[in-house]
Symmetry: D2
Subunit: 349 residues, 4 copies
């Protein structure tokens, strides 16, 4: 299996290369692209990868799609939003299959996409693209040509709420609140003043407090689960750490909740999912316990004072929230078990 990575200089590209290096199918990376780093050896840009797989032989190329399409059977698109929608059509036309890590194919409604991002250049593919959350869409992912890998925040929030909504627990008269916090790697590898070490270290803030672009993606999937339109009050925060997302979600239940019963519903919902760990009562998930893994840790609480259910969800934003999930989708699309090469223990400490 030959694999290409388009836009391989970001952290999601690097994470893909980390995961593929230890994948039991030994997929061969035959092409990596980068505009800024073209012609530089991969291990000059990422010395950490030296000595692994065929990485010392790889060089970055400019992303010239026409030519690239034939260079690999499978493509991970790790380019910025807006690039994938131009890259996908020629690759698909040449028979390639794609997991796209950008937002370009996540929203089913082109109108909504246009409103939150930019005019879509390949709207016809939106209905074909499969939303790549294996716990919800594995059957559709397996045969797909084009999988839209979910956003990091949406992954953490949708997995936390899916059994709750699907089983009719929600009192939809109150908004769902999703208060979520991410490590800095979620902002990418670019040099931004706001992400310099001294601005972030030992500090904490909310950002894009209103109108973060993951909102429509979250609402699209939660509404599908609920069977009616839902609105979510979503607030992202920036944590002084590298990796990890923790989402604390507040949802009003229809009735008082029996916590053990609710937990059984979750265990049942995820009984075939190797990566969702529904934790025991009172468990406090923490991001370090999923660091570098594809796991999503979930814990449920009922706050009798306010009458709200609190659901806490922890993932690694780069692995489960991006490249690990992409590899899981790749596995499914190749007819392999979802967990191939992904049963990794967290790096602790």
């Amino acid at each position: 299996m030959n694999v290409g990575i388009i836009g391989a200089t970001g952290y999601t590209g690097l994470e893909l290369l980390r995961l593929l290096a230890q994948h039991p199918a030994a997929p061969r990376v035959t092409v990596i692209t980068s505009r800024q780093e073209r012609d530089r050896p991969l291990t000059a840009v990422f010395p950490a990868l030296s000595g692994l797989a065929n990485y010392d032989q790889l060089k970055f190329e400019a992303p010239q799609t026409a030519e690239l399409a034939g260079r690999a059977d499978f493509f991970f698109l790790a380019a910025p939003h807006g690039a994938a929608m131009d890259l996908a059509p020629p690759i698909l036309a040449a028979g390639g299959r794609i997991v796209d890590l950008s937002a370009d194919f996540r929203l089913r409604d082109a109108e909504v996409f246009n409103q939150w991002y930019l005019p879509h250049s390949a709207p016809g593919l939106l209905s074909e693209a499969v939303y790549g959350l294996p716990e919800l869409y594995a059957p559709q992912i397996r045969p797909a040509r084009l999988v839209a890998n979910p956003g990091c925040y949406p992954t953490s929030i949708i997995l936390a709420l899916a059994p709750f909504l699907k089983n009719g627990f929600l009192d939809a008269s109150q908004p769902i609140i999703a208060d979520a916090c991410s490590g800095v790697s979620g902002a990418g590898r670019g040099a931004l003043a706001g992400n310099s070490f001294c601005e972030v270290q030992d500090s904490f803030k909310a950002y894009k407090v209103v109108g973060h672009r993951h909102s429509p993606e979250i609402e699209q999937e939660l509404s599908a689960l609920q069977g009616r339109d839902l609105r979510v009050a979503f607030t992202p925060h920036l944590l002084p750490m590298n990796r990890g997302i923790l989402a604390t979600i507040y949802a009003a239940p229809q009735n008082d909740v029996n916590l053990e019963g609710l937990r059984e519903v979750y265990l049942d919902f995820y009984r075939h999912s190797p990566f969702v760990r529904v934790r025991p009562s009172g468990f406090e998930p923490q991001t370090s316990e999923v660091r570098g893994t594809n796991f999503c840790d979930l814990s449920l609480f009922f706050d009798r004072r306010s009458g709200l259910v609190k659901i806490i969800s922890a993932i690694d934003n780069l692995c489960r929230g991006a490249s690990g999930q992409a590899v899981a989708n790749f596995n499914l699309m190749c007819g392999r078990p979802e967990s191939d090469g992904l049963m990794l223990a967290a790096l602790r400490p």
Copy 2:
């Protein structure tokens, strides 16, 4: 002015000593107590304080209240919960005045205290003690003998909501949600496995997800502002950083909110408060901008999608949330301006 600090080996004691060293009134610390460190020089325990004020001359003493009462005019009680209620009566009887940094005198209702903490040994003082939040209670603080210094989370949450509740904006049919995150110093200076560097660094979690003891304190003050009983869904989180609390608060307004109008209400409410900075529209408060200071930074958002108001509040948990506020109370009780010795610039970076 002679000052005593009871329980001076914790981080709040250390922070008091930091602030008093640069206080323009040059209050003289005449006694510091500690059970574990008795007879050790202060600067052997806290070498950072060497060379400042009279600190190289001070030694820790065992906290023998009877005798201590006469050794200072003013006492900061920085002992654990449960100790202050025994320490306060003899000090008051000897004519001393007190700012208590523990929870012992924060709740007005002894029943509630007993239920959340332990049986109160001096319930008669609960009605006399003044809740030491200067923005709300300065007139009562000035003449008080006994001031109950607010908790760190309550400070951040009450300041964020006071103008909102006081001016009748809240739709009380939905619970207020207070999602708050604190640096590790909030857990104190003791050696706990859960607070060791490797367990906390590069990780994030919620803790005491249901039933944190600051809940009744928060609800007591918010209910007083609202004029009726309120319940708050409060979730504390542990940040991988030293200092700082950021609270993200979700409140349902009675009607759609004009954000600029609401901000005017806040500016007016805090017009005489040197430490509350109501930030401009869209401002994202971050804890590093209040690091080491007594400021509380507030910013207001209206999330049209969910119909909720989001209020973000940032303080330094050790300074504004504990010792800085204690010094502000001390200032008021001494007839001095609240801000004496506290107009400090944040340590950035």
Copy 3:
């Protein structure tokens, strides 16, 4: 292959379990011991391991050696110094093979051991034990019954200097200086006041500035390489981070050094070593590039001003400096390639 881990509640035990979970030989962990956690499930103590290998079925047992010896073919001893020398003899007698991660069998001279640690209870094994640094001792490691896994600092320093000393570059009239810095995980998982988050975060210090116990181990191996007794000025420091050691080593060369020539000597010395990456001229190794891996990154500099060679060495103290090296030794002892299950990409960021 059945494997036992004695003292499995520390960070080296946890790291072993992480590495074994993804080892291609799928060694089966049949017994894990712990005094404090006896009878608790492994994944209650380390929830991060849940869902992997057979870990959800394992429980900690008390370390009753007699009985344990038959429970596995191979034992990793991850107990504190002083315990392994009692545990090893019965295990060996029962036919078990051992990699000991403590210092108990690292020093060949019982006198020296007694002086730096405590009286040795099994001095007869000191001459049999093989120092488990594969780059130097692979042939002896393969057939060994008892391998003494090197200390973390010694690993970083010996690998940095081995080609330099072995090839006669050193002017031994001046002391070698090894200034080395470690992440906090090197201090273990216990709750020590000095390792609490707030004491370490955003701070840096040297510790055990004179007389750190790794000194005799370092000098034993460097002296063997040099062919005469050497003394090293070794200073360990504590970094505000989880993992990683960086050693900056200053050595006086016999003559002015041709840097490219010296680098060729290093490349040649390590030509069969999959884990030593001799970096190009000017390369600045950093610990994040070996995070979670068994690599040792080396870079060479010649400081014309002082006439000294500077050698910089980076490893992960828990992986290459402990459990990763232990797995490499396990591989060799099992007749497998040294690198089995260890060709891992660094977790970056």
Copy 4:
């Protein structure tokens, strides 16, 4: 006293503003300059400063020297290297006095400056400029028009070695080794890829291993103290933290050293220096104990194995290593005590 700050958008500018806000002489900042931020309010760029001194009224101006000279009596030049040598002459000509925080006036020999930096545009001022290390040059600083504020690394290293060299302890036949580690704020406030949070966090590296520009400055001052030319093997490292420098220095003594005697020499040398804390035997200085202060903590060790003296020195790079030292120089130049406004307790934790 009216004060101007040229180049006030960097971290040293911010630190000056922090210190001046709480200075008892209440110096009035009348002008702040910045090329990129011209016309923006100070507190829009640094919201942390809002509410303090006259800072809400200040705006950044373009650095038009001719006009600026008359706007203040005293100027802090916090511009990049190469700018101060053009700015100083017109300011001095207009009667202004200057503390320059750049390297432009630190080296007495224009040749050396040209070689390490760039051709000097005002070499005539090099002999007039006083090296602003108060412990060595206070008498010359008081009347000076132009003070060259020392670099951060040189401050930590020169203070550590001054009594040793001045009292003839050094065996100059072996090079001095200065292994020093700095927090990231030393690299300034610009957005550099290498200083982004994810590249630095939980990592450690040496940089400019050979030929760092602070070398000639260190050697100039150490040679003056020793009375003959000295060479230093200096290696800077980047710590994953905000503030602080720790230097570990290895020096060969003429004879075996009596540590208590050496410590007495240090205590005597610094007996009039409020900011140098010569710590007791065995003390391990750490940077957090000087965080935000002008202190330099020193501790002495004798390593009998190698025969070397180890001297450990801790400062805050932004305060003692830059802006705090600049304020101390300002104090001296104004005829005030060196310590005015600088007797600050470290921000711990």
